[in-house]
């Protein structure tokens, strides 16, 4: 009933939804899938806890290009699945604290030697976004989020291939690909992780590819060969879709 009336749904969403467990929503008469989706905030209403307003605009624009909406197939985009919420909430926690951070650093070490820059991921985002926006201003008189989708794709490709000169902008310790690979990895993680982390809203990414999530019991199914698995996903908090 609630879902049939947009205004009450809206009201419902505005009331401290982050604090309501899915089970409580189910008790209000929603299906588990509806409840799971509603338990996630609307992206437009979300107040980032880690990113500044400018950084948030970059994240919204960039993740929308990394996993765009529409296209062939039924898979949703990063914004439809709250991927930016996931990234924001991860960065606000102990993300990256596992990294060994004693110097000296050799940021020019061969790529095969792995992570060798003196930045935690939080700093990669903050410094990287600042540099990308600076570069976009220099080259196109706009910050990244104001560019056309084609221009944004071009900038992202350049970042991936280290074809933006961060050193010329005064940054010696990180390459554009550090920002790009961190952002791409976190975007995919947010898209495909359990919805309790803030992304994969409504388990829509799992539904699209046919991954059953946390069902985790297939004793009867292991002998069924070459038959598509018929059941939709469940989440760790017990929602079904």
């Amino acid at each position: 009933m609630v879902l049939e009336r947009p205004t009450s749904r809206r009201k419902f969403l505005m009331g401290a939804l982050m604090a309501i467990p899915v089970s409580a929503l189910i008790a209000k008469g929603l299906t588990a899938a509806q409840a799971a989706e509603m338990a996630a905030p609307d992206l437009a209403d979300y107040q980032p806890v880690f990113f500044s307003a400018d950084e948030w605009q970059f994240i919204l624009a960039a993740t929308d290009r990394l996993i765009p909406a529409g296209g062939n197939g039924k898979a949703p985009g990063a914004l439809e699945t709250n991927v930016p919420v996931f990234i924001d909430q991860q960065l606000d926690g102990d993300f990256g604290q596992e990294i060994y951070m004693q110097g000296p650093f050799n940021p020019r070490a061969p790529a095969t030697m792995g992570y060798q820059i003196p930045f935690y991921p939080q700093k990669i985002y903050q410094r990287g976004i600042q540099l990308v926006n600076q570069w976009c201003q220099q080259q196109m008189n706009q910050s990244f989020n104001k560019l056309t989708p084609a221009q944004q794709d071009d900038v992202l490709s350049r970042l991936q291939k280290n074809k933006v000169d961060f050193a010329a902008l005064g940054e010696e310790n990180m390459q554009p690909s550090h920002l790009f690979s961190q952002l791409l990895a976190d975007t995919k993680h947010g898209y495909l992780s359990d919805p309790m982390y803030g992304g994969n809203k409504g388990m829509k990414a799992w539904i699209a590819i046919g991954f059953p999530g946390a069902r985790a019991s297939y004793l009867e199914w292991v002998k069924q060969h070459n038959i598509p698995y018929p059941l939709g996903p469940v989440s760790i908090q017990g929602a079904r879709a």
Binding site: R65, F211, A216, V222
Partner: protein
């Protein structure tokens, strides 16, 4: 920081993974007071009850049950002349952390080496013309015979509830098992896991090509099992969360499921977690240890006196502790003198990913060890000598996990954008792998020592690994590429991508291979070239025992856990039967 001296115990065990828990229970059952110190947190089965581990992000991405590089980094360089850099993030390998250690998140492939693998130097001397192998290769025999070690494999496999198909029962080859396996005194305790679609396809293709596939020997129990310690292990339900995850179903043998439940009930056993052992303290004559110094959870420096010290941390950290404690002479790769740090080896992987539009593999239906493998291409089973290299691989099609972040996509699929999204939707669940797990030889200039630059939080130097691929291992990769290519052709997929090391490959620390690091404090017959005798006892300090992958003189194609379990149990028995009555070196030279 207070200095606390603890009450003396008979045995202090440093590290509570497989080696530490097996040593603890065996020595506690003999009546000794055993105290285990574990650097990481406690991890009981309650922490892993369904659905908690069904979380790819927490366990496979954020490494929830691993030690962190911040606490346990090592440094790596390719050659003796390079400056090593720290493993700031894990990549090629990921050691476990906390109670259970790497035995908690392992994939559960519980397989023995072959009799040739444990006598590799003897095989080389017999089969290879002098001069054909690399001059700097330093392979050695394990210091025991097949007959001597076999009962301990058997015992460890019963502790785990090993599931599989017997290939060689007391010399009789059994249809459907591995005809190359060493004679077993008993059949596998449990039947094999069920086959998934990829297994059936791989096994058929391999058979057609003349190979001898058999089900992956598994520590994910195929049936309910009660082990010799009285622990009950549940039948695997193919949940799909195994490798990198603790088991949510009490099915994959781990120190928790197979040992700790019984061990915790023993009054003469105690353990302390978040207890970071910094050093073994030796008596003035350096011939015996008097205990260990550790930092407890509150940050106090504690001294734990003990009559016997067991170093049973992960391979790298066992070697590190020996070097930090002055146990055994450090290895010098120039003079080839010294023993601690020599014969480090890792291993390589690779293979092919095959894509089939019309096949549904349901990859999430899996146990870590679900799969079929063959052993036809391991040392002694094919013409390695004629090909000019030493080594081999088990070749397998496993379906160890099907979680979406690790999904493979066909070559040419964009890494982001609409193309990536559509590729993922189109291809998730439609691929299978044919993989290799290779041997890796040991070499004069591949070794472990203390890093001159980087330190841990206690100011101690980090352990430094000097390692890169050698021509022998790269030649092997190229040979395996041909074999896997033939299997791919036989399977005839819509497309396939191959992943093998080219002849100029450097060790890539960013791509996960396995956590099968071995060597550094090896067992042997000669105190000049080995740190430990056959009972894992330090030649130089007789009341220090060092069970773990550190004892392997080189790496074989079989996964290491079965051997780590077997050598640990053999050593525990020697301590009980002989050392307690007459403390001193168990092997005279």
């Amino acid at each position: 920081m207070a200095q606390i001296t603890k009450k003396e115990v008979d045995v202090v065990v440093c590290g509570l993974g497989w080696a530490g828990s097996l040593m603890s229970i065996e020595l506690a059952m003999a009546g000794l007071t055993v105290r285990a110190l574990e650097k990481g947190p406690d991890r009981s089965y309650d922490d892993f009850a369904y659905p908690k581990p069904a979380d790819e992000y927490a366990y496979a991405v954020r490494n929830k049950v691993m030690t962190t590089p911040a606490a346990s980094a090592v440094t790596v360089r390719y050659t003796m002349n390079d400056t090593a850099l720290p493993t700031r993030k894990w990549g090629a390998f990921v050691p476990g952390g906390g109670v259970g250690g790497s035995g908690l998140h392992w994939t559960g492939v519980l397989i023995r080496p072959t009799p040739t693998d444990i006598k590799l130097k003897s095989y080389v001397d017999e089969a290879y013309r002098p001069g054909i192998l690399q001059e700097d290769m330093r392979v050695r025999d394990f210091p025991f015979s097949w007959e001597e070690i076999e009962p301990w494999f058997d015992k460890f496999e019963r502790i785990c509830g090993q599931s599989g198909k017997t290939g060689n029962l007391r010399g009789q080859i059994q249809e459907g098992g591995d005809p190359f396996e060493g004679p077993r005194s008993n059949p596998y305790p449990l039947p094999p896991l069920e086959d998934t679609l990829n297994n059936v396809m791989f096994a058929e293709a391999a058979k057609k090509l003349g190979y001898h596939p058999f089900p992956n020997p598994s520590a994910a129990a195929s049936r309910a099992w009660t082990n010799p310690y009285g622990n009950q292990i549940a039948p695997c339900n193919y949940c799909g969360y195994c490798s990198k995850y603790p088991c949510l179903n009490y099915s994959k043998a781990s120190p928790q499921t197979a040992v700790m439940d019984a061990l915790k009930r023993m009054d003469n056993f105690s353990y302390e977690v978040n207890a970071n052992v910094l050093k073994v303290v030796l008596h003035d004559d350096k011939k015996t240890a008097k205990g260990v110094i550790y930092i407890d959870e509150q940050g106090n420096e504690c001294f734990q006196p003990a009559k016997i010290v067991v170093l049973s941390s992960f391979q790298l950290y066992n070697v590190h502790l020996m070097l930090l404690s002055g146990i055994g002479k450090p290895y010098d790769p120039v003079t080839e003198e010294g023993v601690v740090g020599r014969n480090y080896a890792f291993l390589s992987n690779g293979g092919a990913t095959l894509f089939f539009k019309d096949k549904h593999f349901n990859p999430f239906v899996a146990a870590g060890p679900t799969g079929q493998m063959f052993n036809d291409i391991s040392p002694g089973n094919f013409d390695g000598p004629g090909l000019g290299f030493l080594g081999g691989a088990k070749i397998h099609s496993s379906q160890a996990t099907g979680t979406p972040m690790s999904a493979a996509l066909p070559k040419g699929t964009p890494s982001w954008g609409a193309g990536w999204k559509e590729g993922l939707e189109e291809w998730y669940g439609h691929s299978m792998k044919v993989s290799i797990t290779t041997t890796c030889m040991s070499y004069r200039d591949v070794y472990l020592d203390l890093d001159p630059t980087y330190t841990n939080e206690h100011g101690q130097p980090l352990l430094r690994i000097t390692f890169n691929w050698k021509q022998n291992e790269l030649k092997l990769q190229q040979y395996l590429k041909g074999i896997v290519g033939n299997i791919v052709q036989e399977l005839n997929p819509d497309s396939a991508s191959m992943s093998f090391l080219p002849m100029d490959a450097d060790f890539d620390l960013t791509k996960y291979v396995s956590t099968h690091n071995v060597g550094g404090a090896i067992m042997g017959d000669d105190p000049k070239t080995s740190a430990l005798n056959k009972y894992l006892q330090c030649w130089d300090v007789h009341n220090v025992f060092v069970p773990g992958g550190n004892a392997f003189p080189q790496n074989f194609q079989a996964n290491p856990t079965d051997t780590i379990g077997a050598i640990t149990l053999m050593a525990a028995q020697a301590i009980k039967d002989r050392y307690l009555n007459n403390p001193g070196p168990l092997v005279q030279v």
